[in-house]
């Protein structure tokens, strides 16, 4: 997806004359260390000790002060979940600043807090809410591929916190920056780090190309059996993806009335069950609001939103998604920030966020989680067609100063659907490099 402009601005000559060069992001590969050490774990909250011992078990060196590191630091985990008074926010600076100063390339800052929604004391809520502003600002200051994210615990259970911290430390979150994830008290236990999705059956819609194809690839890499779904007209590309991931191809139009039933039938008949559904299929039909015609409006609503609602009825019905299953929707930064010419698309993607919020509560008692990713500027065939100037702005206007890869979206989804992420539900994680849009 390299155009002439990109070739020029990333050339050695451009580098010499001072054109800012984006850092090559550290991305997840099975078998590589979780992150570069040493990791500073500090803050005195209720999770710090558990995180430190888990990191040690994972073979990552930890230190409790920046000075102990005697050099560069790979990541910083600050547990301020116990901070109850704004005065205690000092810790963030006192513990964190020396470490951030020593942060390596592609470093990580992960702050752990307590979800203000679970608190009542005004000073406590104030303090915990303050963390978000600090983390988001720090994300904008970090350079060289480093990111800052916040994990908010809704209770004392450590599993969800650990899963989120692991995601943010790892290369899976390469393009996730300035995000807040809430984790509940669900427990999950140990999972196979190399093949966390072993034995799971995953359905991915819109899997023939782009982000969908990458989701299929990443889920299969993590051990899932993948059913790749796309419209019959994309059948040849779909067949290639299905064969590549050694899954099966299912040609169907997600807007057809029986799409959900056919997905369930295929997954259960052919693979013995259904554990994961990724609603990735989506279209854009851009037009300024006043010129928007019926067909453009309706087709976008139908594919991006109504089909998901319809399919979920069958997927969550009798004999459908297993208890403990996972549903992931693909929202968009346009659903958060809005986008000129995309009233239809923006509506559909904001709708998806509403769907995730409401549905996650409805199916919580079955152990099913429902989450969404909201991609920002991702380098795909679709974004390659955006006019030059708009594309360059989209690419650069984020804290990581580059576009993301389809793999970045896929990795976030692959985390959502892990057994270990049982405590993560109703969340919308932006995969946008902390884009300035909608921030």
């Amino acid at each position: 997806m390299t155009d002439l402009f990109t070739t020029i601005v990333s050339s050695p000559v451009a580098k010499r004359v001072g054109v800012p060069q984006p850092t090559r992001l550290r991305r997840y590969e099975p078998g590589l260390p979780l992150c570069e050490g040493p990791v500073l774990v500090a803050g005195g909250g209720r999770f710090a000790e558990g995180i430190a011992s888990w990191l040690a078990r994972a073979g990552v060196a930890t230190v409790s002060t920046a000075a102990d590191a005697e050099g560069k630091i790979g990541a910083v985990v600050l547990d301020l979940s116990a901070a109850a008074d704004p005065g205690e926010l000092d810790q963030l600076r006192l513990l964190g600043a020396p470490a951030v100063k020593a942060l390596k390339r592609n470093g990580r800052v992960v702050v752990i807090g307590t979800d203000p929604a679970t608190l009542t004391d005004v000073a406590e809520v104030t303090t915990q809410r303050a963390l978000e502003g600090a983390v988001r600002s720090l994300g904008k200051e970090l350079r060289a591929g480093a990111t800052a994210n916040l994990v908010l615990a809704q209770g004392d259970a450590p599993d969800g916190v650990r899963s989120a911290v692991e995601f943010f430390l790892s290369g899976r979150s390469a393009y996730v920056d300035g995000q807040v994830v809430r984790v509940d008290e669900s427990t999950s236990g140990e999972v196979d780090a190399l093949r966390p999705l072993e034995g799971k059956v995953a359905v991915v819609t819109g899997a023939a190309r782009g982000i969908g194809a990458e989701i299929a690839t990443v889920l299969a890499r993590d051990g899932a059996t993948v059913v790749a779904v796309d419209v019959p007209a994309a059948g040849d590309a779909l067949a290639r993806v299905a064969n590549e991931v050694k899954g099966t191809a299912l040609q169907l139009d997600v807007t057809s009335d029986d799409a959900g039933r056919r997905i369930v039938e295929h997954a259960t008949a052919r693979h013995g069950g259904l554990d994961i559904v990724v609603h990735n299929a989506g279209i854009t039909r851009d037009k300024l609001f006043v010129n928007m015609d019926d067909a453009r409006w309706r087709s976008v609503m139908d594919v991006n939103l109504r089909s998901v609602l319809r399919m979920n009825d069958a997927i969550l019905g009798e004999g459908g998604l297993a208890d403990g299953g996972r549903i992931v929707c693909v929202a968009s930064i346009a659903g958060i920030a809005g986008n000129r010419g995309q009233t239809n698309y923006g509506a559909s993607k904001a709708g998806v966020i509403g769907l995730v919020t409401a549905l996650s509560r409805q199916v919580a008692d079955r152990g099913i989680t429902v989450n969404a990713v909201a991609p920002g500027f991702i380098e795909t065939e679709m974004t390659a067609r955006i006019p030059f100037a708009t594309r360059e702005i989209g690419r650069r206007m984020n804290s990581l100063q580059q576009g993301g890869q389809p793999k970045d979206v896929a990795e976030t989804i692959a985390w959502f659907v892990q057994p270990g992420a049982a405590a993560v539900t109703g969340q919308v994680v932006r995969v946008c490099g902390q884009s300035l849009l909608g921030a």
Partner: protein, 435 residues
């Protein structure tokens, strides 16, 4: 030497053979979108699509059998080379066959028989043809001259051999749709048979229009979502004319036959077509182990040939002979079927065959039957369209029909179907499927 106690192994009882699924690329009129695709390219796409639908990537199958009618000499091992380019396990054996337009169905018979005998558990039967990427050979004169030069032992002998070259030798040999023993094209042969049986232009055009309408309706209801994978940007058969009608077809000029009595047009004859198809067959056990639900069962098959050179029988009449033999062996009558798939080489072929089965004289004198086979319920004929609409890439037609009929039987919740395919050389291949 084997010990005396070694006893002859008893033959195993035959097994039921399941048609598990099918996949084809859309068929395209020749010199169109697939003009630059080779037989191997198209067959690979058809097989890979089948592999994707059924989750067979990396799977070793018992065998893959396929063929092409128009074949380059370099493609001597077409099917094996295809397998090596697909996502199947490369240790899957393969071989080529060729029985003209019967190739695809004959391939299915061969795979089915091996499965029935327990020699393989699962296999793919396929076929492909390109009328666009056709093999063009050097002329016979040039070929002989070059071979002579190759045999020469000295420069002098070589020069002498090459001196035999004549300008006429440079005209290439292009494959022709002509029966070698009569010099007549298949259409000309059919025109003779059609005239002999008094098949009217109207009846042919009606059959052609119905074929287009049925195929279009099948696409509309999503029937082919299970059977077709797009290729090179084509997602439906390019020959399909959903708005075809008897009125439109009646305006076409005759293409075969002579004079006022000529009834066969480009509209009621199949065009030259490019395409490929593949069918997955398996034993019940294999299908169950792979969590695949059979669409239908491959019950039995029969082939026949007629002496169209000296025997005064029509070139494409062999299925008329094969079907009664198949019916007799299975204790069935022609009316015991829920669906009939009679390959529309020409509309006249189907109509002649049906008329022959209704004709007491033909059935008595040619087939040796006391009573005619009788007529069929025409509403059960080619219900999802056939070759007049889909086109006819010779060796790929059998796979198209087997998969479509199996799917139709499954969709109908059970039943029995008859397949009848005529082939060049005066041959016919027929089969029974049940679900």
């Amino acid at each position: 030497m084997a010990s005396q106690s070694a006893q002859r192994t008893a033959p195993r009882a035959p097994r039921r053979v399941a048609i598990v699924g099918g996949n084809r690329i859309p068929f395209a009129r020749s010199n169109g979108p697939y003009a630059k695709a080779s037989n191997q390219d198209m067959l690979t796409a058809a097989v890979d699509g089948l592999v994707a639908r059924h989750g067979l990537a990396g799977e070793r199958l018992g065998e893959v059998v396929a063929g092409a009618v128009l074949k380059h000499s370099r493609d001597f091992n077409l099917t094996r080379e295809t397998v090596l380019g697909t996502r199947l396990d490369p240790t899957t054996p393969a071989y080529d066959i060729q029985q003209a337009c019967g190739t695809g169905l004959e391939a299915a018979i061969l795979v089915a028989n091996k499965i029935a005998l327990g020699q393989v558990d699962a296999g793919i039967a396929g076929g492909v043809d390109s009328a666009s990427d056709a093999p063009i050979a050097v002329s016979e004169g040039l070929r002989r001259t070059l071979l002579a030069a190759n045999r020469a032992r000295s420069a002098g002998e070589r020069a002498k051999a090459l001196a035999g070259l004549r300008p006429a030798h440079l005209v290439p040999a292009i494959p022709e749709n002509v029966e070698p023993r009569t010099g007549l094209s298949m259409g000309e042969h059919m025109a003779l048979t059609a005239a002999q049986w008094g098949i009217t232009r109207e009846a042919q055009d009606e059959l052609a229009a119905a074929s287009h309408q049925h195929l279009a309706a099948a696409y509309e209801r999503g029937f082919f979502d299970y059977l077709v994978t797009p290729y090179l940007g084509v997602s439906r058969d390019t020959n399909l004319r959903p708005d075809s009608s008897v009125e439109k077809l009646s305006t076409l000029k005759p293409a075969f036959g002579k004079g006022d009595g000529a009834t066969m047009t480009a509209g009621n004859s199949t065009p030259l077509t490019d395409g490929a198809s593949a069918v997955l067959l398996a034993s019940e056990e294999w299908a169950a182990e792979h969590r695949l639900t059979p669409l239908a069962w491959f019950v039995d098959a029969e082939t026949a040939a007629v002496d169209y050179v000296h025997g005064h029988e029509g070139l494409l009449m062999a299925p008329a002979y094969a079907v009664p033999r198949l019916l007799a062996r299975n204790g069935l009558t022609l009316q015991d079927f829920d669906f009939y798939e009679i390959h529309e080489a020409f509309a006249a072929t189907v109509l002649t065959t049906l008329k022959a089965w209704e004709d007491p004289d033909f059935c008595r004198e040619r087939l040796g039957l006391e009573a005619p086979l009788g007529s069929i319920d025409r509403s059960r004929l080619n219900v999802n369209g056939s070759s007049l609409a889909a086109g006819h890439p010779f060796a790929a037609t059998g796979g198209r029909i087997v998969a479509s009929l199996a799917k139709q039987l499954k969709e109908a919740g059970g039943g029995r179907g008859l397949i009848s395919i005529c082939a060049a050389g005066g041959q016919g291949v027929v089969a029974i499927l049940e679900a």
